[in-house]
């Protein structure tokens, strides 16, 4: 194949660019459009306790990689307390300590999470031992065994066994055995502990988890004890009240294990209250935060790591390839004539400040006046470089004039003209008047209008919010653009303008 090398190269570039982009979209959750929003939850734990006038230590269990969520942010508000955090396998811990604690104290812990199905991995660790069958006292003993036997006969595996047991245990019209077992426990936690106790009779490994129901505008809420059983492969959570299996979307696992949520040393016991609020945020910022927390090196080396001012420069620079692409399209496929190859892009960049309509008006005015003055200079018979310099000086004076005049007339837009690249203007004027001299007004105006058209189209494309967003967040897409441009470099077909240019070659009435 003639262009095999080129095709392979283009394919490789496309694959690299597209797969990097796909990774960012799928793994890091970067959105493909700038306005997508996602829900974030802010859960806040408020600890209040009274000091006893001496040193105190407060320990709070905090979530660690809660299933179904990804943590975006954590905050500790600790007033006069010193803070230390500890990361453990199952739970994280916040440790507050202060030398002298007097009166009522309040500490806050805040966690911001967002729903994330990727985080819903199987939890396999730690692998527990099989518990020994407890030595139940009578009459509990016969009640447990009779219940377990009933359950076993109606279940297939550990998961269905647990569900069956929970359903029986929660039956509104319980039989005698369940009634007996239920009587022992008064509150929710007791009941969960009782269930663990019963399951131990079947030698099923269990543990207690504390969960928080994510409910918007919840205030003064608390954690609920749930139960998890180990089915030889993974930990499976059950709602002890309903027997429902798994962790629903709105349940945040705060703590794993039966340790107390908060422990206070040297002060009175603390009270913990939870409040929850829901808000929406741009997916982009959520994804950035998440990537920072999961240490993704892809975003680490992205443009987001640059200082904001530099980022803003690249926001503009990265659209230039798009403009170049437009030029290729319009020159090699349509066949438009322009002054200079990429001069229209620079003009398009200047339009950013003036906006399109004003940009076109100002640009045409300046070039028109410039060309007139250039014709006058022609009579003075100046050499090339001094003449170019003179045109440049005149252009700058004209720009200053336009700015002052438009301000006096009350047009704010005239001020933005200062950002026009004056060298480009001077060159355009020079090229235009040379073309005018050598090839006539028609040719000069064609190329002038061509430049303006390419610049306008370039401006529209380069300033498209979505395109600007895409190239900044996914600069690897420019590799795909490069691949397309390389392929277009081997386009040897007719240009649109040639369909007109060669029309006189075709005999009237077509060919036989």
């Amino acid at each position: 194949m003639k262009n095999l090398h080129l095709y392979v190269l283009a394919l490789a570039l496309t694959i690299v660019g597209a797969s990097l982009c796909a990774y960012k979209v799928n793994r890091l959750g970067l959105p493909l459009s700038p306005t997508e929003q996602t829900e974030v939850w802010t859960a806040e734990a408020t600890l209040t306790f009274n000091g006893r006038g001496r040193s105190a230590k407060v320990e709070l269990t905090t979530p660690s990689q809660p299933p179904g969520f990804s943590v975006l942010d954590e905050d500790y508000i600790s007033s006069s307390f010193g803070l230390a955090t500890e990361k453990e396998d199952q739970n994280n811990r916040a440790l507050w300590a202060a030398r002298e604690v007097r009166g009522r104290q309040t500490l806050y812990y805040r966690i911001v999470v967002t729903e994330d199905r990727e985080e819903n991995r199987k939890r396999t660790t730690p692998k527990p031992d099989y518990p020994a069958v407890p030595d139940y006292p009578e009459p509990e003993r016969s009640a447990v065994f009779s219940l377990l036997a009933d359950v076993r006969s109606e279940s297939a595996d550990i998961s269905s066994f647990t569900r069956e047991l929970l359903q029986r245990f929660n039956d509104p019209t319980p039989d005698e055995d369940v009634n007996l077992l239920r009587e022992a426990s008064t509150d929710e936690l007791e009941r969960v502990r009782e269930i663990r106790h019963i399951l131990a009779g079947a030698r099923i490994p269990t543990r207690i988890i504390y969960v928080l129901r994510m409910e918007d505008r919840l205030r003064e809420g608390g954690l609920m004890p749930w139960i998890e059983v180990y089915d030889d492969k993974e930990w499976i959570a059950f709602n002890p009240k309903t027997g429902a299996r798994g962790i629903p979307k709105d349940i945040l696992v705060w703590q794993v294990g039966d340790k107390p949520l908060v422990s206070v040393k040297g002060a009175n016991p603390a009270e913990v209250k939870f409040s929850i609020a829901r808000s929406s945020r741009e997916i982009l910022s959520v994804a950035q935060q998440r990537a920072r927390l999961i240490d993704s090196s892809v975003l680490e080396f992205s443009l987001f790591s640059l200082p904001i001012a530099t980022q803003n420069v690249y926001r503009i620079l990265l659209t230039v390839p798009i403009g170049a692409f437009v030029v290729v399209l319009l020159r090699n496929f349509v066949g438009l004539k322009t002054f200079g190859t990429f001069m229209p892009i620079l003009i398009a960049l200047a339009f950013r400040e003036t906006k399109l309509l004003w940009g076109i008006i100002l640009f045409s005015t300046l070039v028109a006046i410039g060309v007139l003055l250039r014709f006058y200079l022609e009579r003075l018979k100046l050499l090339l470089v001094p003449r170019l310099a003179s045109v440049l000086i005149i252009v700058i004076l004209l720009m200053a004039g336009v700015s002052v005049l438009s301000l006096k007339l009350g047009f704010q837009n005239g001020l933005s003209i200062a950002l026009f690249p004056m060298v480009i203007l001077a060159m355009t004027i020079e090229r235009m008047s040379l073309t005018w001299d050598e090839s006539g007004a028609r040719e000069a105006l064609t190329a002038g209008l061509g430049s303006l058209f390419v610049a306008s189209l370039g401006y529209v494309v380069m300033n498209n919010e979505w395109i600007g967003y895409l190239v900044f967040v996914f600069p690897e897409l420019l590799l795909v653009l490069l691949a397309i441009t390389l392929l277009m470099g081997r386009y040897t077909g007719y240009r649109l303008s040639e369909l007109r240019r060669f029309r006189s070659v075709v005999p009237p009435g077509g060919i036989k």
């Binding site: 018979k381 090839s439 369909l499």
Partner: protein, 343 residues
């Protein structure tokens, strides 16, 4: 014809006119070479960059051609730096007429033709009288790169003014007609003569309004001409027929063009030859990126001929054999417009 009402005749003519756009497949079937393919498939493949300076710098071309025994307009002198402009008088010497042009000019720009003198003043070919100062200023402009590729500083060449052969007198308005030949791998495959008009201001440049008339490679006879987009068979200024002019020394011109390949090493080359009244065919300049207009002038595409030459495994060494081979190949393609087809 006279029986048909005037308005109907107009309609009839309009209906016969070509549509504003031609379909690409139509052009493809006619074998029209386009700009992208010319650049990508021919110039880039057959013209090595390192040989470009030989043709882009007319001074180098001239010296090479003289060494190879190819006839060119006599070189009177060269002005390379601003300081030498004062030597202009000395270079011109006794010559009554001469041409000043940039060594690296493009598209026929920046050429001043002086056809005579009146005392200390000069007469331009257009009849306008200018002073020695004007000429010097022009030379300075040339040196500053005003007419040159990329605007780089340039040299000014002062050379013999070609006296056009009388054969073209009936079909040219002032200026010198030149014959452009496309030489592909050393084979001259297409030719046209560019005839100046009043509109082109005596310049032989098609987009400025010169007429391009195709030439049958095999016979050296002109076919219809093209003026801008229009096919015509008579000169718009003189009213004389363009069709069927037999160009003298045709075989010699073809060989001159073919030999240019050995000189320039460029596989896809445009050769511009002028026919001097006294000296015969002279090579005016070479072009490493010859345009596509020759197809319009010939009313025929280049692709078929290019493909035929590309298919050749062996190219003869001698120029005359190559000319013979080219004529054979072109005759076989037979895509020449006969007069009856134009009507």
């Amino acid at each position: 014809m006279s029986l048909i009402p005037r308005r109907l005749r107009l309609l009839h003519r309009l209906a016969r006119r070509n549509p504003p756009l031609v379909m690409p497949w139509t052009l493809n079937r006619m074998g029209l070479l386009n700009m992208n393919a010319r650049n990508g498939d021919y110039i880039m493949r057959y013209n090595q960059r390192k040989f470009y300076p030989l043709v882009d710098d007319k001074l180098q071309t001239k010296r090479l051609a003289i060494d190879a025994g190819i006839a060119v307009p006599e070189l009177y002198g060269v002005i390379e730096i601003e300081y030498q402009v004062r030597d202009l008088e000395k270079i011109i010497g006794d010559h009554k007429d001469f041409v000043i042009k940039p060594a690296q000019g493009s598209g026929g720009n920046g050429i001043m033709v002086i056809s005579g003198r009146r005392g200390v003043k000069y007469i331009k070919s257009s009849g306008i009288i200018i002073s020695a100062g004007d000429v010097e200023h022009f030379v300075s402009n040339v040196l500053s790169g005003m007419y040159s590729l990329g605007g780089l500083p340039d040299k000014a060449i002062i050379e013999y003014r070609v006296k056009p052969h009388s054969i073209f007198d009936p079909v040219s308005y002032q200026g010198v007609p030149d014959i452009r030949t496309i030489v592909f791998r050393g084979l001259p495959i297409a030719s046209m003569v560019r005839l100046p008009t009043r509109q082109s201001d005596g310049k032989a440049n098609l987009h400025q309004g010169a007429i391009g008339a195709g030439i049958d490679i095999c016979t050296g006879r002109t076919v219809d001409g093209v003026w801008f987009d229009r096919v015509l068979d008579e000169h718009p200024d003189t009213g004389n027929s363009i069709n069927g002019i037999e160009i003298p020394d045709w075989q010699m011109q073809m060989e001159l063009a073919a030999r240019s390949y050995d000189l320039t090493q460029l596989g896809y080359l445009g050769v511009d030859i002028v026919l001097d009244r006294d000296l015969g065919p002279l090579v005016l300049e070479y072009n490493a990126r010859p345009g596509l207009n020759i197809q319009i002038a010939n009313q025929a595409g280049l692709l078929e001929r290019l493909k035929k030459v590309e298919a050749l495994t062996k190219i003869p060494k001698s120029a005359s054999e190559r000319v013979e081979l080219a004529m054979e190949l072109v005759a076989k393609t037979g895509n020449f417009k006969s007069k009856s087809a134009a009507a």
